[in-house]
C-alpha cells in the first residue's frame, strides 16, 4: 500500500506530520502504533503549517511517555523540533507516573500509552498528574462515560479513576488508569436505539456557584430537560474551572458533549456550546459522535473488525483513518449515506 504522505523503506516508516489537519494527533497515533507494531517511525514536518511549528511541550510529554513504556530510542525529541524519529523497544507493563503540564492533557497521554499496553500481556498502574480538563482535549468525563464502556465491551480491561480535576490553566489534577493487556473483540455500532437516560452536569471549581446554576437553567430551558436530569455541582480543584457535561445514554452506547467556561464567556454560552453539539448528534440519528468516531478507529483496527455509523467525518478523523489503515494494515471503508450525509465506517482485515 502506498500513500503520498506516508512512505516506508526497509528501515522505517516516514510520515509527513503536516498532512491533513497536521496536528499533534498524527504524532501521538504514530508513536503509539509504532510501539504496537514494533516498527520505527519518523515524523517529519511536525505541525509545519501551524503557527508555532514543531514539537511543543504537550506533544513532547506524550512522546516521552510512549518512549518510557516502550523503551524507545528517540531522535529529535526536543521543543520545536520538526522531525522526530521513534524506534520502539519492548513495551513493559508496570507502575508509571506521568506529570502533565497545565497546557497538556492527561487524556492525550493516556491515549498514547493505552494501545501499546493493551497489546502487550501484563498489567499497568499509571498515575497522571496535571491537566485533566482542557478545552483542546477529550475531558475525563468523555473518556469515562462514552469511550471506556465501548472499549470494555470490546474486551479491554481498563479502569479509569479521577481523583482530582485539574482545570486549565492551574492544572494540579490527578487521574489513575489500570490497563491490562489482552485481545480485543470486534464491535458493531450501527444503531443508536432508543435513549435510555439523560444527564447534565455543570461543574464549578473555585468560582461563584451561580455560574453552574445559570448553565443548568439554560440547559433545562433549551433542551427541556428536568431538574432531576440537570444539576450544578461544586467540585474541588486547585484552580478555578467550569465545565458543562451533557450525557446521553441510548440502548447501544452513550455519548458525552462538553462546553468549557472561560474568562469573559457568558455561562449561557458555555451551556449552549454543549447543547449545539448534543443537538447535532441527536438530529443525525447515528450512535457515534464526532470525537468518539475518532477514538474507535484504533481499537477496532486492533480487533481486526468493527463497524459504526457516525456523523460526517472531520479532517481530523479522515487523516486518522489513513494513518491507522496504513500503520495497522487494515481496510477501513468509508461510505457516506447520500440522504443525510452520515457515514458508515467498516474496519476489517
Amino acid at each position: 500500500m502506498s500513500n503520498n504522505w506516508i512512505n516506508e523503506n526497509q528501515e522505517l516508516i516516514e510520515i509527513d506530520g503536516s498532512y491533513g489537519e497536521g496536528g499533534g494527533q498524527i504524532l501521538r497515533t504514530s508513536v503509539a502504533l509504532s510501539l504496537v507494531t514494533q516498527r520505527p517511525v519518523r515524523i517529519k514536518n511536525i505541525r509545519a503549517k501551524r503557527n508555532k511549528s514543531g514539537l511543543l511541550r504537550q506533544h513532547l510529554t506524550a512522546v516521552l511517555a510512549a518512549a518510557k513504556i516502550g523503551n524507545a530510542e528517540l531522535t529529535g525529541a526536543e521543543l520545536r523540533s520538526n522531525t522526530l524519529t521513534f524506534r520502539p523497544g519492548k513495551v513493559r507493563h508496570g507502575k508509571y507516573h506521568f506529570a502533565v503540564g497545565s497546557a497538556g492533557s492527561a487524556a492525550l497521554v493516556f491515549q498514547t500509552v493505552l494501545y501499546p499496553l493493551l497489546s502487550t500481556p501484563g498489567k499497568s498502574q499509571i498515575v497522571f498528574e496535571g491537566g485533566t480538563h482542557n478545552q483542546k482535549a477529550p475531558p475525563f468525563d468523555f473518556l469515562e462515560r462514552a469511550f471506556l464502556p465501548l472499549l470494555t465491551r470490546m474486551g479491554a480491561k481498563v479502569k479509569l479513576c479521577l481523583h482530582r480535576r485539574g482545570f486549565y490553566p492551574a492544572g494540579g489534577g490527578c487521574m489513575t488508569a489500570e490497563i491490562e493487556g489482552g485481545d480485543l473483540r470486534s464491535l458493531s455500532l450501527l444503531e443508536r436505539g432508543p435513549i435510555t437516560s439523560r444527564r447534565a452536569r455543570a461543574l464549578v471549581a473555585n468560582l461563584p456557584a451561580n455560574i453552574g446554576n445559570r448553565e443548568i437553567k439554560e440547559i433545562c430551558k433549551k433542551l427541556e430537560w428536568t431538574r432531576e436530569e440537570a444539576k450544578a455541582e461544586v467540585v474541588q480543584s486547585d484552580g478555578p474551572g467550569n465545565v458543562v457535561v451533557l450525557e446521553v445514554a441510548s440502548e447501544h452506547c452513550a455519548e458525552v458533549f462538553t462546553g468549557f467556561g472561560a474568562r469573559g464567556k457568558r455561562s449561557e454560552e458555555v451551556a449552549r456550546e454543549a447543547i449545539r453539539e448534543l443537538r447535532a448528534y441527536l438530529d443525525s440519528g447515528v450512535p457515534v459522535g464526532e470525537h468518539l468516531a475518532d477514538q474507535l478507529l484504533i481499537p477496532m483496527a486492533l480487533a481486526g473488525k468493527g463497524s459504526f455509523h457516525t456523523v460526517p467525518l472531520t479532517d481530523h478523523t479522515t487523516t486518522n483513518i489513513e494513518l491507522v489503515r496504513y500503520l495497522l494494515g487494515v481496510e477501513i471503508d468509508v461510505n457516506t449515506r447520500p440522504h443525510n450525509g452520515t457515514v458508515r465506517v467498516d474496519v476489517r482485515r
Binding site: R57, Q58, L79, V100, P169, G239
Partner: protein, 541 residues
C-alpha cells in the same frame, strides 16, 4: 540538550495576582505555561518580607509545569528603588551562584521588579556577571485573556537583537567578504589579517603598508580596501595606482607631483601628477622601496601636510589622499643602507600588513581556484567546469613542494586562464591539468635557470632552515641568502674549515701572498652566528 534556567525577581504586585491569581496574568508564573519554552529550573529572588508570596509563586509554577524545579532565594535590600542597594545585592547573588554555562542556558527575567531592578539586571547581564540572555515577558492582549502572553529572548551578546550592532556586524561581514573578493579563504592567518585590515580600513585614515612577495595580491588588496572605504563613504575620490619601480629621474617627480608647463625640457604641457589625481581618494604606491630619496622627502611632506610643490611651480598644491604603500623589500634594511628615509618609513609603517605568498596559504589554493574559475566563466561567457579528478590533480600539484608559485597568485591566475582557454567545451579535464602542470614546471625551471629565482631557491631556503631559524632567515637580504646558502653548501661537503675556505676563495687566494681563507670563512660564518662545529654538528644528525 542544555537545561533552561530562568533567574528572576519576584514581582510583588503582578505576581500576587491580587486575590485572583489563576485568572490574572502573572509574569513569573505564566512563564510556566508557554508550550514552546520549557523552564527546567527557576531561581526566584525575593526579599525576606515577601517570602510567603514567593512560596506560592514557586508552588504554582511547579504545578503548572511539573518539569520545572523552582527554588526561592532570599536577597537583601530595604528599598527596591535604591540603586546602590539593589545593584549590590544582585551582584552578590551573581557571585554566589554557581553558573554552569556548558550545560545550562541562563535567562534573566527582567519583567518583574522595579525599574531600578531592571536596570541593575540589565547592567549585570551586559557586564557578564550573569552569563545569560534577557527574558522579557508581556501579558496577552485583551481578546486572548487567560493565555500566558508572550516572551522574548534578548541576547546582548548576539548582536542579532541589537539593531545597531547587527548593522555593524553585517557591514563588517560584507567588508571582510569584499576584502577577500568573496573568496572563502581558509587560512586562519590570512583571515585574521583581513579582519584586522577591515578594522583599520573602517576606523583609520592613516597610511597602510602592505608587504609581501610579488604576486601575493598587494594591488588587489589595495583596490579592495579602496572599494570598501568607498562603499562606506569614507572616500569620494578615485583609486590611483602607480608602480614606483617604473619611475625614473625627472619623470618620477612629475609623475608623482606633477609639473607646470615648461618646467623642464620637453615639458610642453602641464601634468597633474598622481598625488593630485588621488585627491579625496586613495593612492596606491607599489614598490615604494624603489622611490628615490628626493621623491621620498616630497612624499613625506605630502602625507603629513597634504601639500607639495609640483615640478617647476612655486605654488603649493593641496591634495588629501589615503595612502597605501606596497613593497616586497625589507624597508628597515633599506633605511639601514641609507636608501630609504627613516622618517617616511615611520610615517607609513603605522599599519603594516604582510601578505603571505601562495605557498604559505596552501589551504587557500582551492577557494582561489574556484574564484578564478568563476572569473574566467564570467569573462568567457560560457560555463567553465573542472572535473573532480582534474581538480584533485591540480590541487595536489599546487600544494606540493613542486608548486613553486614564484609569482604567487599571478601564476595561479595565469594557470587558470590558460586551462580555461584550452578546456574542451569549457570542461577542464585531467589532460588539460597535466599539460598545465608541465607548463608551470617548465616556467619555474626556466626562472630558476635564468637566475631570477636561483635554481636552488627552494633548496637554498631549505639549506638555510637547517641552520638558522625562520626569524633569522627573514632578516637576511636575498643577496646574503644566496651567498650564505652557497657557503653552507660548500661547508657541508668539505672535510674541514680550511678545505672549505680554499674552495670558496679559490680566485682571490691566487692573488694574495699570505692567505688565511679559513679565518676569513670563520669570520663570515660568525656574522650569522654560525660556526664550523655547528654546521657539522647539526648536519650529522
Amino acid at each position: 540538550m542544555a537545561r533552561n534556567v530562568v533567574i528572576g525577581l519576584l514581582g510583588t504586585t503582578l505576581d500576587s495576582g491580587a486575590g485572583r491569581r489563576w485568572e490574572r496574568w502573572r509574569p513569573t508564573v505564566d512563564l510556566a505555561r508557554h508550550d514552546d519554552f520549557l523552564v527546567d529550573r527557576f531561581e526566584l529572588l525575593h526579599t525576606p518580607r515577601w517570602a510567603s508570596l514567593a512560596h506560592i509563586v514557586r508552588d504554582d509554577f511547579m504545578q503548572m509545569s511539573p518539569e520545572t524545579k523552582a527554588r526561592c532565594h532570599e536577597i537583601m535590600f530595604d528599598d527596591p528603588w535604591d540603586f546602590e542597594q539593589v545593584f549590590a545585592s544582585l551582584l552578590d547573588f551573581s557571585h554566589e551562584y554557581t553558573f554552569n554555562p556548558e550545560e545550562e542556558n541562563y535567562y534573566i527575567h527582567i519583567t518583574t521588579g522595579t525599574h531600578v531592578a531592571q536596570i541593575c539586571l540589565f547592567l549585570l547581564t551586559e557586564a557578564r556577571y550573569f552569563p545569560a540572555r534577557l527574558l522579557q515577558t508581556s501579558p496577552p492582549p485583551p481578546r486572548h485573556r487567560g493565555d500566558p502572553g508572550t516572551y522574548r529572548v534578548i541576547d546582548l551578546d548576539l548582536s542579532k537583537y541589537d539593531q545597531i550592532a547587527s548593522r555593524f556586524g553585517r557591514d563588517q561581514a560584507a567588508g571582510l567578504s569584499l576584502l577577500k573578493a568573496g573568496i572563502a579563504t581558509q587560512s586562519p592567518a590570512f583571515n585574521h589579517l583581513i579582519a584586522q585590515i577591515e578594522q583599520v580600513a573602517a576606523r583609520s585614515r592613516a597610511p597602510v603598508l602592505i608587504t609581501g612577495p610579488t604576486g601575493a595580491g598587494k594591488t588587489r588588496l589595495a583596490r579592495r580596501i579602496y572599494d570598501l572605504k568607498r562603499q562606506r563613504r569614507q572616500l569620494e575620490g578615485p583609486f590611483v595606482e602607480i608602480n614606483c619601480a617604473t619611475l625614473r629621474g625627472d619623470t618620477a617627480m612629475s609623475a608623482l607631483f606633477g609639473h607646470v608647463r615648461g618646467a623642464f625640457t620637453g615639458a610642453g604641457g602641464a601634468r597633474t601628477g598622481v598625488l593630485k589625481s588621488a585627491d579625496g581618494g586613495l593612492l596606491f604606491l607599489d614598490e615604494i622601496g624603489e622611490l628615490g630619496l628626493d621623491e621620498q622627502a616630497m612624499l613625506l611632506r605630502a602625507i603629513e601636510d597634504h601639500r607639495f610643490l609640483p615640478v617647476g611651480s612655486d605654488r603649493e598644491v593641496t591634495s588629501d589622499f589615503q595612502l597605501i604603500a606596497g613593497t616586497n623589500r625589507d624597508l628597515r634594511k633599506a633605511v639601514h643602507a641609507g636608501t630609504f628615509r627613516e622618517d617616511l618609513l615611520a610615517r607609513i609603517n603605522l599599519w603594516t600588513f604582510r601578505l603571505p605568498g601562495l605557498r604559505e596559504r596552501s589551504e587557500d589554493i582551492e577557494p582561489n581556484l574556484d574564484f578564478e574559475l568563476e572569473r574566467q566563466t564570467q569573462q568567457m561567457g560560457t560555463r567553465l567546469t573542472i572535473n573532480r579528478a582534474a581538480r584533485q590533480a591540480f590541487l595536489q600539484f599546487a600544494s606540493s613542494p613542486d608548486g613553486r608559485w614564484y609569482a604567487n597568485f599571478r601564476d595561479l591566475t595565469a594557470a587558470v586562464e590558460r586551462m580555461a582557454t584550452l578546456a574542451p567545451g569549457g570542461r577542464i579535464n585531467t589532460s588539460v591539468v597535466e599539460e598545465e602542470i608541465g607548463r608551470l614546471r617548465r616556467d619555474w625551471d626556466d626562472a630558476d635557470q635564468s637566475g631570477l629565482h636561483n635554481r636552488q631557491a627552494g633548496n637554498d631556503s631549505l639549506l638555510l632552515q637547517e641552520f638558522l631559524d625562520r626569524e633569522a632567515i627573514a632578516q637576511l637580504d636575498r643577496f646574503d641568502r644566496v651567498q650564505l646558502a652557497d657557503v653552507l653548501r660548500v661547508c657541508k661537503t668539505a672535510k674541514n674549515l680550511s678545505e672549505a675556505g680554499r674552495v670558496l676563495f679559490s680566485a682571490s687566494r691566487k692573488l694574495r701572498k699570505t692567505t688565511n681563507d679559513a679565518d676569513r670563512l670563520r669570520k663570515y660564518l660568525a656574522k650569522f652566528d654560525l660556526s664550523w662545529k655547528r654546521i657539522h654538528g647539526r648536519a650529522q644528525k
